[in-house]
């Protein structure tokens, strides 16, 4: 395996400190921006990234180059422009950005420089959750090193381009990961998603053009610039380009995160990398991309984990971090836990989300405790529809309904058993190891 096949994680040391600036530069780090700053125009950078077909790794999969293309460029564009790094990883089951933040902050900084240069942003904020304190400290250290070497700050490497990078620590709310809510949070305003238009690319942070980008997305940029769009496209297995950080958690033998060609099959990730199910546990279903994605079952094991394949079966690649539901865990309890999370993390702005999600959670709790009634299933079904896209103010509640909707499809009999048997059939056996 060459460096080229695992570009994002190659230099990350498990259980070791992240590469220092020197170590990174010794292995080709920051070379891409030296070339970029001296030889490329922002438009050329944008073109390269567009050609690479890089899609956002935060969950929605929006093409990065296209996102940048909405930013006003040129001398009369509003200033300053901002780049915001979304490091508020809080989707249940997701921990891949933490690996990149803790393991290789300089790679992220180089990605930030590239993205900032491409849209001519002078200031970048890394919006990071409080619980990632280790990551934040690693980032602060790396930023200091980069600044002291002239890689950040005024007149980068004599190019005339200026960029300051700050770390913003957030006090913990899932909704801050929604890009416009994140902007409100960063500004110190009530954290409610914003109405669109205006789109952040035009009127974002403090009303200025702003790009919000996921950590993993940015970490791809140095490699795209270093090796070219064509090389990058070649990394993927299917239609999508590059590698993807895939992760698996739950009752598998080796829970973890791996950088693999995007489009690797579910089975390969599960069996080869995660080591298959633990002794005594069988695979029942999985959420492929975090807590807000619809379940896949064993019928889907040979699907490619890429954007299109998963949406074709009604799920999403999401963050690419899978959660495994095993046969000894109650699917109703599993969904109840998820809905508790979503109800808890609702910002409280719109009615269906604020009041609908707690009801869903309590209905599931009632099923669990033996209080479920047949008509509760109708109410659940109704919530699946009425908390769907367009009904709510943002994508939070629709995201919460994805696992519920698919659970009602795949595990309907389990729900019914809770009603018929007046309680959780798993409660007697428990989820003991």
């Amino acid at each position: 395996m060459t460096i080229d096949r695992r570009p994002l994680t190659e230099q990350i040391r498990r259980n070791g400190p992240p590469p220092t600036l020197c170590e990174y530069e010794d292995r080709g780090g920051y070379a891409a921006i030296r070339t970029m700053l001296t030889e490329m125009t922002p438009e050329e950078v944008q073109r390269e990234v567009t050609d690479s077909n890089l899609r956002g790794r935060g969950g929605a999969g929006f093409p990065t180059g296209k996102k940048w293309s909405f930013v006003p460029m040129g001398d009369d564009a509003p200033r300053p422009k901002y780049l915001v790094v979304n490091a508020d990883e809080m989707e249940p089951g997701s921990f891949k950005d933490r690996v990149l933040l803790e393991g290789h902050p300089h790679q992220l900084i180089e990605g930030i420089i590239i993205a900032a240069y491409a849209i001519q942003a002078e200031c970048a904020y890394i919006f990071i959750r409080w619980a990632y304190r280790r990551s934040a400290l690693a980032l602060e250290r790396a930023i200091r090193e980069a600044r002291e070497s002239g890689l950040l700050g005024h007149d980068l490497l004599g190019s005339g381009f200026n960029l300051t990078v700050h770390v913003h620590t957030s006090a913990g709310r899932y909704i801050c990961g929604e890009e416009t809510a994140l902007l409100n949070a960063l500004e110190g305003h009530p954290v409610i998603p914003r109405a669109k238009p205006p789109y952040p690319q035009v009127s974002g942070l403090w009303g200025k053009p702003t790009i919000v980008q996921n950590v993993e997305t940015l970490c791809n940029l140095p490699h795209i610039l270093a090796h070219g769009a064509e090389w990058y496209r070649g990394l993927g297995k299917g239609k999508d380009s590059g590698t993807k950080l895939y992760a698996v958690s739950g009752r598998v033998n080796r829970p973890g995160v791996w950088e693999l060609p995007i489009g690797t099959t579910v089975r390969e990730i599960l069996e080869h990398h995660a080591g298959g199910m633990q002794e005594g546990y069988a695979f029942r279903a999985m959420q492929p991309g975090g807590g807000s994605t619809a379940f896949l079952t064993d019928a889907h094991l040979d699907m490619a984990m890429d954007f299109e394949s998963l949406s074709s079966v009604g799920s999403r690649l999401g963050t690419g971090t899978a959660i495994i539901l095993d046969d000894r865990t109650c699917p109703v309890g599993f969904v109840r836990n998820l809905e508790h999370f979503f109800a808890q993390e609702s910002c409280g702005w719109c009615t269906p989300c604020r009041d609908g999600l707690p009801w869903v959670e309590r209905l599931l709790a009632a099923l669990d405790s033996g209080d479920g009634r047949p008509q509760d299933m109708d109410i659940l079904e109704r919530h699946v529809t009425f908390l769907g896209p367009g009904r709510t103010y943002c994508a939070h509640a629709p995201g919460a309904m994805e696992p519920l909707k698919s659970a009602l499809e795949h595990f309907r009999s389990d729900f019914d058993r809770h009603i018929d048997e007046r309680g959780c059939p798993w409660a007697k056996t428990g989820t003991d190891e």
């Binding site: 238009p197 009127s203 009303g207 910002c347 409280g348 719109c350 009615t351 209080d371």
Partner: protein
């Protein structure tokens, strides 16, 4: 505004085609078209934020689209060809689900809730058809807060529509109410218990769609909306003339609510206007005529019947040849006119203080002779640049201050077109504009409530403020007088202000009369006129002292100086005082000397406090809330008010007392008014006497007005207990009280139709029991009322007038040795006489004090807690002092509440620390 409808588009609702306005969203269009589409978070004056999701409809791409998508009507523009369905089953079901969610935790305590029967949540629940409860869990509860004497808090009823915080923070600029927590544990309240600080907090009662915020004063004498008789009236607590509904039951005034007027108050009232009404119920309010047998040893007043009192007066007046009349800026135009008619032009004293009289005449002159029009509140709201000179307007013309606060958004809003954002998309607008503010400059003696939205502020003495204004005028147009001795800092500010005003499309100069400095008024005129010379259509807005200051001024009474110069012979002259406590306006010794020259002294009033010790005869007047008449507001708009309470025994409107007094006098002039039996007759007489008042009769339909032969009922048709109310006095069912003065009836019987706007007694429509029923009274929601009469604007500018600028502005303020310039600091609560008698207001009246910049306090060697002896011509007071870093140096602010200031201010004063007790 009568905007040309060039945005007309066709939209399709449930298969039918309608014309709609492309500038509005689908919710607004649907409501304007008369559809019943439920909503909560949208508000016509606050726009859309998409929070409640109640107004869902189904939108179709085109004729062939049968699936459609659920959209929120309030978040969707009315674009050409838009196809929606309100009746779509899925849309209906979704709307009923929204109510179901909102009801999960709502306590269903309607029977004990003050909002019950006029609750938007009740109405919307019925509208969506959600009837049965499926949620089995227990409800969430909260601890309520004490929010002061105006507003009651009951958080359990909250449906989290966010209207309260949006009004309080975004519209009113309040900072102490917010939304705490998140998810389904949101709390709308203050950080800690305490009185709501904002001057417009009472609007929470109306913007809240349910019973979270209710009127605490109403709860002290509670009655359901349907059980109260409601009457259109005009607020009498400042010069703005906000339109209000007064609600009464069993002779007790119960509450004040907003009566929409598209040019004045729109949707919002100030707290003085809303909660000041209880003076009507004041236990000491005068309700019987009284006579003082002897003036000499301050004998007590003895109550008599009207006939007896008038008979006694007849004997006293028989040998009197003259009556000197004292008018009142808080009495109606008709009563003042009646007095003037009886006593004659030359014996009619306006009743205003020296300063008020001078300022009012000046304002009248500026608005009549100059090219700059006086602007309505609505025009001020749409001004794209503003200069405020003088005092903190929130204390003297609060609704005007609220309008100025909105005006700062006008200029930034111009960017919205480029961003493809509609004005109604409030959330998007606020995101896009990022708190940008258009130009607003304030010159004042101390910090003001609008400083937080001001571009820059200037602090100085009243004459320095006037000089600032004059210098701005000169900078705009060099024909206006030059100001010398400006510092470079001042010059820079002046250039900045001049540039901002001259480059605006709709700049306004707003001035309060509260500082007492006439030159501030003149400076404002100079600025507006200079702008007109430059071709900029600037507006002027003044805040005279009281509700009818301008109306009284139009009648041209004498000033106090003129009055004292010619009047007074105790053997010959009687004095007739109309609704006026002269001790509030004239220095005590001077007043007492003057009163010595009259006998008897006759007082017509409803305020017991206003009765002079010297008064020999007292006749109980109906307050404005309980009578019919007209007032002229700050812009020169005459508006009609109607009596909210049926005629009370022994009490009558002042002009009738004046007529009765005329009848028992030997004055020739009585014959001119002998036949008056209605306001219409007085209006005819006034129109003849005063060309400017020729249209006064058009302000509202006359008393004879009927709809299909019927009067307009003040009581809703559900009014209950009509026959029970008087049962303690009589078991016979009495006739409903007559109301010969107006087309309104004290009854539930009458026309079911909507009357012309000045006569609308309450907003109610089938299925719309709350004040949101207003939608059904407007041509388009948020715009003109059906059959709108706006009152009559009496004063229109001379567009071509090249009025001469006011010359010889005052010199720079020079501090005097050992003296400070004493300036008045009016207060929202306490400075206005009538509202200060309301118990809820009384709880919020600040203590009287002298206010100093900390430096001045140090210079005077004052210690914390020490009292100050203030000595000025005609004034000696010992008062506590307070320091205020926003107070201009070299000044002392006099916060006299209640009681007003009885000496002309500003005046030089000596301040000394009082010896410690």
């Amino acid at each position: 505004m009568t905007k040309a409808r060039n945005h007309s588009v066709t939209i399709h609702v449930d298969g039918r085609s309608f014309q709609a306005d492309a500038q509005r969203n689908l919710l607004e269009s649907c409501l304007s078209l008369g559809f019943n589409l439920p909503y909560f978070c949208w508000h016509p004056a606050m726009g859309s934020v998409g929070a409640c999701r109640q107004c869902a409809v189904k939108q179709f791409k085109d004729e062939s689209d049968t699936n459609g998508l659920i959209v929120m009507a309030c978040m969707t523009p009315s674009a050409e060809g838009t196809r929606i369905s309100i009746d779509d089953p899925e849309a209906r079901e979704f709307r009923s689900s929204v109510i179901e969610w909102l009801m999960l935790n709502h306590p269903h305590d309607c029977p004990v809730c003050d909002e019950g029967g006029e609750c938007h949540l009740q109405d919307m629940t019925v509208m969506t058809g959600h009837v049965s409860r499926r949620y089995r869990e227990s409800k969430r509860t909260y601890r309520n807060q004490y929010l002061g004497s105006f507003v009651t808090h009951e958080m359990n009823r909250c449906i989290q529509c966010y209207r309260c915080v949006r009004f309080y923070r975004d519209i009113a600029g309040g900072e102490d109410l917010n939304a705490f927590g998140s998810r389904d544990r949101l709390y709308f309240g203050r950080m800690q218990d305490g009185t709501l600080e904002n001057e417009f907090s009472g609007n929470l009662v109306e913007v809240c769609p349910t019973g979270v915020f209710t009127d605490k004063t109403l709860s002290h004498h509670y009655s359901r909306k349907w059980d109260m008789q409601s009457t259109p009236s005009i607020c009498s607590h400042c010069s703005v003339g906000c339109n209000v509904h007064l609600a009464e039951r069993a002779g007790i005034m119960r509450r004040v609510t907003n009566r929409y007027h598209s040019r004045i108050n729109g949707y919002f009232l100030c707290d003085r206007g809303r909660f000041g009404y209880e003076y009507v119920n004041h236990p000491q309010r005068l309700r019987r005529p009284a006579v003082r047998p002897s003036r000499e040893n301050s004998a007590p007043l003895i109550s008599l019947s009207p006939a007896e009192a008038l008979a006694r007066l007849r004997s006293r007046l028989s040998e009197r040849k003259r009556i000197v009349g004292v008018g009142s800026p808080r009495a109606s135009l008709e009563s003042n006119y009646a007095l003037r008619t009886l006593v004659g032009r030359e014996h009619f004293f306006s009743g205003m203080s020296i300063v008020e009289h001078r300022d009012a005449s000046l304002i009248l002159q500026i608005l009549t002779d100059g090219p700059a029009p006086s602007w309505s509140i609505q025009q001020v709201e749409q001004a794209d640049a503003a200069l405020i000179l003088g005092e903190d307007l929130v204390h003297t013309a609060p609704r005007l201050a609220l309008a100025l606060r909105q005006s700062v958004r006008e200029q930034p809003m111009e960017q919205l077109d480029g961003l493809n954002i509609h004005r109604w998309q409030d959330a998007a607008v606020r995101t896009a504009l990022q708190g940008q503010r258009g130009p607003l400059y304030i010159g004042s003696v101390a910090g003001t409530s609008l400083d937080d939205v001001a571009t820059r502020t200037f602090r100085g003495s009243p004459c320095d403020i006037a000089r600032l204004g004059c210098a701005v005028a000169h900078e705009i147009c060099h024909d206006s007088p030059r100001i010398s001795e400006l510092t470079s800092e001042e010059s820079a500010l002046i250039r900045e202000i001049a540039r901002a005003l001259a480059s605006a499309k709709r700049p306004v100069v707003a001035v309060g009369a509260g500082t007492g400095e006439a030159w501030i008024i003149k400076a404002a005129a100079n600025v507006a006129w200079a702008l007109h010379r430059r071709g900029v259509a600037a507006g002027l807005v003044f805040a005279p002292h009281e509700c009818n200051t301008l109306g009284l001024s139009l009648l041209g009474g004498n000033s106090f100086e003129q009055t004292t110069a010619i009047e007074g012979d105790r053997d010959r002259d009687a004095l007739l005082i109309l609704e006026n406590d002269l001790r509030r306006r004239l220095e005590t010794a001077t007043l007492n000397r003057w009163l010595e020259r009259f006998d008897p002294i006759i007082v017509i009033d409803h305020v017991d406090d206003a009765i002079l010790d010297q008064a020999g005869f007292v006749f109980p007047a109906s307050p404005i809330a309980c009578s019919d008449g007209s007032l002229v507001n700050h812009e020169g708009r005459v508006q009609r008010f109607f009596s909210a309470i049926a005629k009370e025994q022994d009490v009558q409107v002042s002009w009738r007392w004046i007529q009765d007094i005329g009848r028992v006098s030997s004055l020739e002039s009585f014959h001119a008014m002998a036949d008056w039996t209605s306001l219409e007759q007085i209006h005819a007489a006034m129109a003849e006497d005063f060309p400017v008042l020729r249209r006064i009769g058009e302000a509202a339909p006359p008393a004879q007005f009927r709809i299909a032969g019927q009067k307009i009922p003040r009581a809703p048709h559900r009014f209950s207990g009509r026959t029970v109310l008087p049962v303690l006095e009589t078991i016979h069912e009495p006739q409903p009280p007559h109301d010969p003065e107006s087309p309104l009836a004290f009854s539930m019987e009458g026309t079911p139709s909507q009357p012309p706007s000045p006569l609308v007694p309450f907003f109610w429509s089938s299925g719309w029991n709350s004040n949101e029923a207003l939608n059904k009274f407007q041509d388009e929601v948020g715009r003109s009322l059906h059959n709108e009469h706006l009152g009559i604007r009496l004063l229109e500018p001379q567009p071509d007038a090249r009025s001469r600028f006011f010359e010889n502005p005052p010199p720079r303020y020079e501090r005097r040795n050992n003296q400070l310039l004493l300036v008045p600091l009016p207060r929202l609560f306490g400075s206005e006489e009538l509202s200060a008698r309301a118990s809820a207001i009384q709880e919020q009246i600040p203590k009287a004090a002298v206010v100093l910049h900390p430096r001045e306090a140090d210079r005077l060697g004052l210690r914390k807690g020490q009292a100050v002896d203030v000595t000025a011509p005609g004034l000696t007071r010992r008062l506590p002092f307070e320091t205020d870093e926003t107070m201009a140096g070299g000044l002392a602010g006099l916060r006299l509440t209640p009681g007003g200031v009885s000496v002309p201010l500003p005046a030089w004063a000596t301040l000394k620390g009082a010896p410690s007790p």
